[in-house]
Amino acid sequence: MLAAVRTFAILGVEAREVLVEADVRNGLPSFALVGLPDAAVRESRERVRAALANSGFEFPQMRITANLAPADLRKAGPGFDLAIAAAVLAATKQLPEGALADVALAGELALDGSIRAVPGTLAMAEAASRAGARAIVVPAACGPEAALVAGCGIVPVERLEQLQRLGGEDEPPRPPALSPPPNGDGPVPDLADLRGQPALRRGLEVAAAGGHSLLVSGPPGAGKSMAARRLPSILPPLGPDEAIAAARVASACGRSVGPAVARRRPFRAPHHTVSTAGLIGGGNPPRPGEVTLAHQGVLFLDELPEFGRDTLEALRQPLEDGTVLLVRARYAIELPCRFQLIAAANPCPCGTGPRSGQCSCDPASVRAYEAKLTGALADRIDISMAVEQPDLSSFTEAGESSAAIRDRVLAARERQRARSRGDRANAQLTPAEIEIGAEIERMLADAGLAAGLSGRGRGRVIRLARTVADLDQAEAIEVAHVDEALTLRRRESR
């Protein structure tokens, strides 16, 4: 008496197919689970035993062997429970003939036979659709999220006994796809809260319009992190594909999928004590890091120089490629991480700034601090600006609201889309892809001499100037656009 059932394991944010085989035969009653299960998967036997008994099924008093194939892939988590139970039921003929034909299952069992949510059902449904499955059986709580995938049937189940209805007339119907939660799952903070700081507002607007990375430095209390947290409110909403990509990540990491469905860009602000694995992803089995959680959104690194040097160094490749490749002995997984980097820093460890004359830091620590900002990571930062604490007078007047700024950002993005006929923002273009007139060419050559503009810096200025021009709704890049870009650009250290 042999049965095989399809399910999925989540590796990173992708689903890998796993076949659960159950062999039930006469012998001393036992339940062996093989195929590289981790502790949670091994305990699945006890849950399956109890859930079967508590749902009106019979747990066979026979020798049971369940195998998870491929046998060399490490299986983690309780998500295999439902498939193991289904395989045992099929092997003991307790389910109608053909109920499990062309069906994949995923879910965690409770002892009473109810089925609990598992992470990653969105990616699993996509994988099931790609594999040509008729339907995927998912916990009812995950149904709306899985139903975002159109390509295959979604069967939401609340209890184990509902498996008997699979393939029949009364199969649980496909749930409606997850709709955006009202209010987008909580309010988005508005830039109107930021008082004063006109340069920082302008920097954020340019960063949002062109997808540029930004470093803001200034004393504590200047509103650096407050402003950064409000960047998502002026970013364009996620496109349909981007929303699915963000939802897939959120689903695989067991986070709420609602904001992604509401087209909200993710915003992640890991603390500076974050480990490299926590930021980039890692561990065994590999888990996505903060950069992946920030996919299609914003990664905010407050107190940038306080992050570990190796951690920042590890950020460089993901920032460049938009993906993290985690290589393990038997497999490699690729995690998406196309994010916009926003960083904040105090001017020195004590916060007052070494050139203010008030600074109490010793020179060596200031040098070490500044070195963090001039390393390889800093080379990937487009905009750099210093801010001060706002004047008290500016506290009385509210700043421009996010909605107004976002209109300009959207108009600028629209120009970029029309021009590049693609979905790339200016920050992703090479300088050769941006047209500049002869006058601008001359001007940049002059600036190269006078203002110490390197080749890399030149490309950065051209990209920024294009974004400034787009915000002005200007067809061609003009001298004033380049001048503003020259001021905004991050300088190499002297």
């Binding site: 004063g196 700081q197 006109p198 340069a199 920082l200 507002r201 302008r202 470093l215 430095s217 200034g218 820093a345 001017p347 700034g353 070494p354 050139r355 203010s356 004359g357 008030q358 600074c359 109490s360 830091c361 010793d362 020179p363 200031v366 040098r367 500044e370 900002l373 001039t374 800093a378 750099s384 600006m385 210093a386 801010v387 001060e388 004047d391 001007m443 002059d446 600036a447 006078a450 203002a451 110490g452 004033a480 380049v482 001048d483 503003e484 870009a485 020259l486 001021t487 905004l488 991050r490 300088r491 190499e492 250290s493 002297r494």
Partner: protein
């Protein structure tokens, strides 16, 4: 240029700097050095000025020290300092720019580059001047050797100029020692309320000479208005004049001032829209008047808008 390695000068030698014999307790019988030995001999002939100041100096202080060093060197003055980070290094660099001899007094042996970050400066000093020390080659710079180093610096210069010094600091100790040895002490005034400017301002309050530029130092050396005795190769240059500036941009140059100005600060002080301020700063940077650091903090270069009086204050 003397060939290669370190050398030593005995007290009995004619090259030995006479001014060091003023020291009490007396100086070591041997003075070790590296670089050009004739630069030491020159100490007896040429006017000597010691410039010292804070390691943790402001951008303003660094600019003043470099300009002082340069203009004094152009006027034929030997600039003595301690090669420390900040003001000391700026003074040496200025003297090298001005094409004059400069002497660094080190706390360790003459081959011990301290701080190591000034290695390039050390090599340049060896080329046209010398480093000297009371300690033989191979001696590490240790904390207790710095006060002794300050004594030597104080004794060598006919005038000691303090550019930025916190209260208390080694630079103030040098000023004190110089005063006790009967040397003239001058100080560059700094901004009120700024920590590294306190020491120098206190010195002025206590009667030190107020130093605004090299002219003020030369007045102390030779008397007001008297040119140095030896023929000058070229006249002391005015601050470098830049390309012509229209009035609005000229106003922005003044706003940037000495410190670490942000775009917001310039916009606010100049009553400009933020974008106007950003554009103005970029124009000025292209003309060479201002520059920004990797953080985006702006400061002035040594260019001065033209048609101001030459030798104008910076």
């Amino acid at each position: 240029m003397s060939a290669g390695g370190p050398w030593a000068i005995e007290r009995s030698s004619t090259d030995y700097p006479v001014c060091l014999t003023d020291l009490d307790p007396p100086e070591q019988p041997l003075l070790y050095g590296a670089g050009r030995r004739d630069a030491i001999a020159g100490l007896a002939r040429d006017p000597v000025v010691t410039i010292v100041g804070a390691r943790q100096a402001s951008g303003y202080g660094l600019r003043v020290a470099e300009r002082l060093g340069r203009d004094l060197a152009v006027a034929g003055v030997t600039v003595v300092s301690g090669m420390a980070r900040g003001i000391d290094a700026a003074a040496h660099r200025g003297a090298l720019l001005g094409g004059g001899a400069t002497i660094a007094v080190l706390a360790g042996g003459p081959d011990n580059v301290y701080p190591p970050m000034n290695r390039a400066l050390y090599r340049e000093i060896l080329g046209v001047g010398a480093v000297i020390s009371e300690h033989p080659p191979g001696t590490e710079a240790r904390k207790h050797q710095f006060p002794a180093r300050n004594r030597i610096m104080a004794a060598l210069g006919a005038v000691a100029v303090i550019v930025e010094a916190a209260q208390p600091s080694g630079s103030l100790i040098t000023a004190d020692l110089a005063a006790k040895l009967g040397r003239t002490v001058g100080a560059v005034p700094g901004q009120l309320g700024v920590r590294v400017a306190e020491g120098a301002n206190d010195l002025i309050k206590e009667g030190a000479h107020l130093i605004r530029d090299a002219r003020d130092v030369l007045d102390l050396l030779f008397g007001v208005g008297v040119e140095p005795g030896r023929p000058q190769l070229h006249a002391a240059p005015a601050p470098r004049a830049g390309p012509p500036l229209k009035a609005p941009l000229r106003a922005v140059v003044e706003l940037v001032g000495g410190g670490a100005a942000t775009v917001d600060r310039v916009a606010l002080d100049g009553d400009l829209a933020p974008r106007e301020a950003a554009v103005a700063l970029a124009r000025l940077e292209r003309l060479g008047y201002v520059t920004a650091d990797p953080f985006g903090r702006w400061g002035r270069t040594d260019l001065t808008p033209p048609d101001r009086a030459p030798g104008g204050r910076h």
